[in-house]
């Protein structure tokens, strides 16, 4: 108990000292980057169990999770230029490598909440959003081998 107390006291202060969550092994390629982070936004790495406060510029990799709390919001910026605005109270996964059976892999899997996607040049960009009920595809047609 004596050991736990300082940790509990430290928790809010530590949360304010927002540092980018540690990135996974450098072999993975960046799937998206967080921007316009406002309010409570956190990231859970694929290999981790802890949610950590997100900051602008946080790189996101396969199977990472992003969560916004009430009043929190952020943007996912993909290398293709596609921008996905994440509203408050949203939970999503990045490019989950183990998609649901019979479902193609999605760039973003929204488990709860709302995202707002913009493709400036859909003839050259694509975005696949998975949800528990459906798969939404936008932009150029993709042929899966």
């Amino acid at each position: 108990m004596a050991l736990c107390l300082p940790l509990l006291v430290c928790a809010p202060a530590c949360r304010r000292e927002a540092k980018a969550p540690p990135a996974p092994a450098p072999k993975q390629s960046i799937r998206a980057t967080l921007a316009q982070v406002r309010g409570a936004v956190s990231v859970k790495r694929a290999a981790g169990d802890e949610w950590q406060a997100a900051v602008n510029g946080t790189a996101l990799y396969d199977d990472d999770k992003v969560r916004t709390e009430r009043g929190g919001s952020a943007e996912l910026r993909f290398p293709s230029g596609t921008v996905v605005a994440v509203s408050e109270d949203t939970l999503l996964g990045i490019a989950e490598t183990q998609a649901a059976p019979g479902r193609p892999q999605a760039d973003v899997t929204v488990l709860r909440g709302t995202v707002d996607a913009t493709l400036d040049r859909p003839a050259n960009q694509s975005l696949t959003v998975g949800t528990p009920a459906a798969t939404v595809r936008a932009g150029r047609e993709i042929v899966f081998q």
Binding site: Q36, V110, L111, L119, R137, A138
Partner: protein
């Protein structure tokens, strides 16, 4: 070869391939910049004038030079349109490519290759025009039970797949998919006619020019507020500006954005109703400018 002879040959060559053009004679003591300003309206167009007349050096006084005709005017107009489109375009791959084409068009103009310059400039303009037309903007909302609502706001249709069936959802349409069921036909937002009350917007006031401090992301903070809508479970604020569009969901009738690029924005608010659908919108325009004071457009009794 003397300049005069070169000019004469250029005259002959041009006469055979282009419609009659006007001419000019280089005045005593006239520099290339002065000559270009007098004939083409730009001091910097000297190299272009030389290229048009197939000359390598500054012509001597008394040299007769050909002046370009309507072909040049068309190229200059096309470059002007492309330049304006590039300035107004949001950052992105389309703008970068258009900038490269515009630079090539300007280079071709300087070499008096007017038809090619116009084609490059037209290409840059079309690139940005196509990008504007094609932009895709849609929202995906997932309820706690997995029910998914897709709303396409603009651009090309998106494809919604579930249980082996695919539906196309076009701009202005929405589609709700229940977990474990195939998607039904999309609904037209306009034909359905959103019910409920439109929000009453409070601030920023109509026509207001907001002078704001520099902030992360541009100028800010910008506070948008409206009256609560009875029985609304939340609100969607859409911001459409020259360089940025943004959609924010909020549980309360106020949203503060820390920073936005300067410019004119249309802000639209809709209430999220108890069945998850969006109510009718209310819009206003606000202009964000750098500065330290609020500029009220309306007259005020205060001196």
């Amino acid at each position: 070869m003397s300049h005069a002879l070169a000019a004469a040959l250029a005259l002959l060559a041009s006469a055979a391939t282009t419609p009659p053009a006007s001419e000019t004679v280089v005045r005593p003591g006239e520099s290339l910049g002065q000559l270009a300003a007098r004939t083409l309206g730009s001091e910097g167009a000297g190299p272009e004038l030389l290229a048009f007349n197939h000359l390598d050096g500054v012509p001597a006084a008394g040299t007769r030079l050909l002046l370009p005709g309507p072909e040049r005017a068309r190229a200059v107009a096309a470059i002007g349109s492309a330049r304006s489109a590039v300035v107004q375009a949001p950052p992105g791959s389309a703008r970068t490519e258009a900038e490269a084409r515009l630079a090539e068009a300007e280079s071709l103009l300087a070499r008096a290759r007017y038809a090619e310059a116009a084609a490059q400039a037209d290409g840059a303009w079309k690139l940005l025009a196509d990008a504007r037309e094609e932009r895709s903007h849609f929202a995906v909302a997932v309820e706690p039970d997995g029910r998914t609502r897709v709303a396409v706001r603009e651009g090309v249709p998106v494809r919604v797949e579930a249980q082996g069936r695919t539906r196309a959802v076009r701009a202005g349409e929405t589609l709700t998919v229940i977990r474990g069921e195939p998607p039904g036909p999309p609904q037209s937002e306009s034909s359905a006619g959103p019910t409920g009350e439109p929000p009453v917007l409070l601030s920023p006031e109509p026509g207001l020019k907001l002078a704001l401090e520099p902030a992360p992301g541009g100028l800010g903070p910008v506070r948008f507020a409206w009256k609560p809508v009875p029985e609304a479970t939340g609100y969607v604020l859409d911001l459409a500006g020259p360089r940025k569009t943004l959609s924010v969901r909020s549980a309360v009738p106020v949203v503060t954005i820390p920073g936005l690029p300067g410019g004119k924005y249309r802000w639209t608010v809709r209430a999220v109703q108890s069945d998850g659908t969006l109510g009718p919108p209310t819009s206003r325009v606000v202009q964000l400018v750098p500065g330290r004071i609020k500029l009220e457009v309306k007259e005020t009794p205060w001196q």
